[in-house]
């Protein structure tokens, strides 16, 4: 039995640092506002969301056919394609590609999939130096942490944290937290690794185009292009849900990806890898790792439409105030709350409760995943399997009785206004009520809505 991730408890570690929480909240909300400005700039935005959703649903419902078309095209382009049923197979394929060629270093761009597969933990004990070259991902690697956000992996850290970490790991001045200095130091530390012998390059994949066998990678740093264009071997790890049918579909998805995530019209680099440079090798690893199981789940397969933009995280009030690490998994935020239970329901049964069900995630999702509805459905599944924590189950039973009876409800509400004023804090903020932690109750109104309505609207005007 795997150990349940206690989201509320993990979040309390983050909430103990008010400066971090306040910055995190503001930074992510700023990304949300930038996303809104971009969306408003395109009159066709909502139509693009329909199209993106439709293309993904079509592809997923014909996925075997598109994977096959992609593989045939890639092989025709001189790429070697591998099939990994799970994380272990993926990591073993990578290791044999490297060891058979005497490679000792892997320079790579950011990939949620290689994090999901815990690839570094597999390669490093076997003598491979793995160099994450994205600044945020490198920070997380040096700190032995998962990424806390899928687009900005170290967004939960402040400059002083990075200064301390770099001072400890790459020899910078720990007292110098100037951001230009820190970024420049990482550049100088990382770039020599691209140039060395016995070094292979690796990228993830944002979109895999079936008709041409092309892998598309989006970065702002250009580190995927460095990883793929200097070493003699390029390995791309690809989740099967990344397939899209046509090149012209990129005219929908590339327009939406960075607008949704960072609020910029495009990433600085959008790179299309179709065929190896002469004299070099290109290998694609297609990874299932639970995706086909999820595809077979009637209520939950639409989560496979996700293009990993991070918009649902930026807008989520729970994520913004609890930090990505509190989700205990590679995937955090609202999308993590619906993806993780498909991997391990027992372990991640608390995550669907880390939501207010406000639906904000659903309303910003560029591929129209019904995230908040899936969160609700997971709660039903978890309750039916008695995976709900005892206290939550008891409180919800009480709430259920209360809400089912209008008389009982009204009597309770009428007395609650006074009760809220009189109740001592140890009752409201007791350990059973995780929502009471780190929150103050608003003042109760002087009159209930029902009383107000009867007073003001009783006589038709």
């Amino acid at each position: 039995m795997s150990k349940r991730v206690d989201h509320a408890k993990a979040a309390s570690n983050f909430l103990a640092k008010p400066d971090h929480v306040s910055f995190h909240d503001r930074r992510l909300w700023d990304l949300r506002l930038k996303r809104d400005a971009q969306a408003r700039g395109l009159p066709e935005w909502e139509t693009l969301r329909d199209l993106a959703s439709g293309i993904k649903e079509h592809t997923l419902s014909h996925l075997a056919q598109y994977v096959e078309q992609f593989v045939d095209a890639a092989e025709g382009n001189g790429v070697v394609v591998h099939f990994a049923a799970d994380a272990r197979e993926h990591n073993e394929i990578v290791f044999s590609l490297l060891s058979e060629r005497g490679m000792t270093t892997l320079v790579k761009s950011k990939s949620m999939l290689t994090d999901e597969c815990a690839m570094r933990a597999h390669l490093e004990p076997r003598g491979i130096v793995v160099m994450e070259t994205d600044l945020g991902e490198r920070i997380q690697q040096l700190d032995n942490q998962d990424p806390s956000h899928m687009v900005v992996p170290a967004v939960h850290k402040l400059r002083s944290d990075v200064a301390e970490l770099f001072g400890r790991t790459i020899g910078t001045d720990p007292a110098n937290s100037d951001i230009h200095y820190l970024a420049e130091s990482q550049r100088m530390d990382t770039r020599p690794h691209f140039l060395r012998d016995k070094t292979a390059g690796m990228t993830g994949c944002n979109f895999a185009v079936a008709e041409t066998g092309t892998v598309v990678v989006c970065t702002n740093e250009g580190n995927a292009d460095l990883s793929a264009n200097i070493p003699p071997l390029h390995i791309a790890s690809i989740g099967i849900e990344k397939l899209i049918p046509r090149l012209s579909d990129l005219g929908v998805f590339i327009r939406m990806l960075s607008r949704s995530g960072l609020g910029s019209p495009i990433t600085q680099y959008t790179s299309h890898f179709r065929s190896p440079r002469p004299g070099t090798e290109m290998h694609f690893i297609l990874v299932d790792n639970g995706r086909s199981e999820r595809l077979a789940m009637e209520d939950f397969w639409p989560s496979l439409k996700c293009i990993r933009c991070g918009a649902c995280m930026n807008t989520c009030p729970v994520y913004r105030r609890s930090g990505g690490l509190s989700y205990g998994s590679t995937y955090s935020g609202p999308i993590g709350a619906i993806i993780n239970p498909t991997f391990d329901l027992q372990r991640f049964s608390a995550l669907p409760f880390a939501s207010t069900l406000n639906g904000s995630c659903t309303s910003v999702c560029p591929v129209r995943i019904n995230i908040h509805e899936q969160i609700y459905k997971w709660r039903e599944v978890i309750s039916a399997r008695h995976e709900t924590p005892f206290v939550k189950a008891e409180v919800l039973k009480m709430a259920g009785r209360l809400l089912a009876s209008p008389t009982l409800y009204r009597a309770t509400i009428a007395s609650l206004g006074g009760a809220l004023k009189r109740l001592p804090n140890f009752l409201l903020y007791n350990p059973l009520n995780i929502w009471g932690r780190q929150r103050d109750l608003p003042d109760a109104p002087v009159q209930t809505f029902r009383d107000w309505y009867r007073e003001n609207r009783k006589q038709p005007r």
């Binding site: 439709g54 096959e68 099939f83 197979e89 140039l195 200097i230 090149l247 179709r274 065929s275």
Partner: protein, 193 residues
């Protein structure tokens, strides 16, 4: 390791009921001159746009901007750098180059992007490993948007194709924008009619 057939069979068995593929229409494009929309979009992404008349002006502009001692590699016919490159040049050897000069096949007004393949780059690493990139672009070769760009045949034949929009950048520490993360520190597009 899992075979192709086993891998595909498992997916096929899991597929939900078929959903049809939507047609993607061409949306209307904002009004205005493409070259000026391109320059505005590029500025937002941290790039610079200048208009120069002919290769002579490009040579003078590069010398003024970077000095006569700078190590310059050019992938553009008619502009000689002081570091020769060809298709056999080892990518890593460009590490000490200060300025790369390349010609884009086309640009995209919507985003301020320029398009390269291995044909334009000669050595792909020139786009990333040098410190500063100067891009020549014919202002008549600017597409309205990404939707038009992705309908071009160029993506089907290039081994490698990149839409490059401004210089390498990161905002991974406290959202502060840094130009020159891993790749080029600056990118200038010279519109050369």
């Amino acid at each position: 390791m899992t075979s192709r057939d086993v891998f595909l069979a498992k997916i096929r068995k899991a597929q939900p009921s078929p959903v049809s593929l939507p047609d993607v229409p061409l949306f209307a494009t904002p009004a205005g001159d493409r070259a000026s929309r391109f320059a505005t979009a590029l500025a937002l992404m941290g790039g610079t746009c200048v208009t120069l008349q002919g290769l002579g002006e490009v040579r003078t502009w590069v010398a003024d901007r970077f000095g006569s001692d700078a190590v310059i590699a050019s992938a553009v016919r008619g502009i000689d750098g002081n570091r020769a490159i060809n298709y056999r040049t080892l990518p890593a050897s460009l590490e000490d180059v200060a300025v790369g000069i390349v010609r884009a096949r086309f640009g995209v007004a919507e985003t301020g992007s320029v398009w390269f393949s291995e044909d334009e780059y000669v050595v792909n690493a020139i786009g990333y490993l040098v410190q500063h990139l100067v891009v020549l672009l014919d202002p008549m070769r600017i597409e309205d948007g990404l939707q038009e760009a992705y309908r071009r045949p160029d993506f089907r034949t290039a081994r490698y194709a990149a839409l490059v929009t401004g210089p390498s950048a990161t905002a991974d520490i406290e959202g502060i924008m840094i130009r020159g993360a891993q790749g080029v520190r600056s990118l200038t597009v010279a519109l050369v009619p």
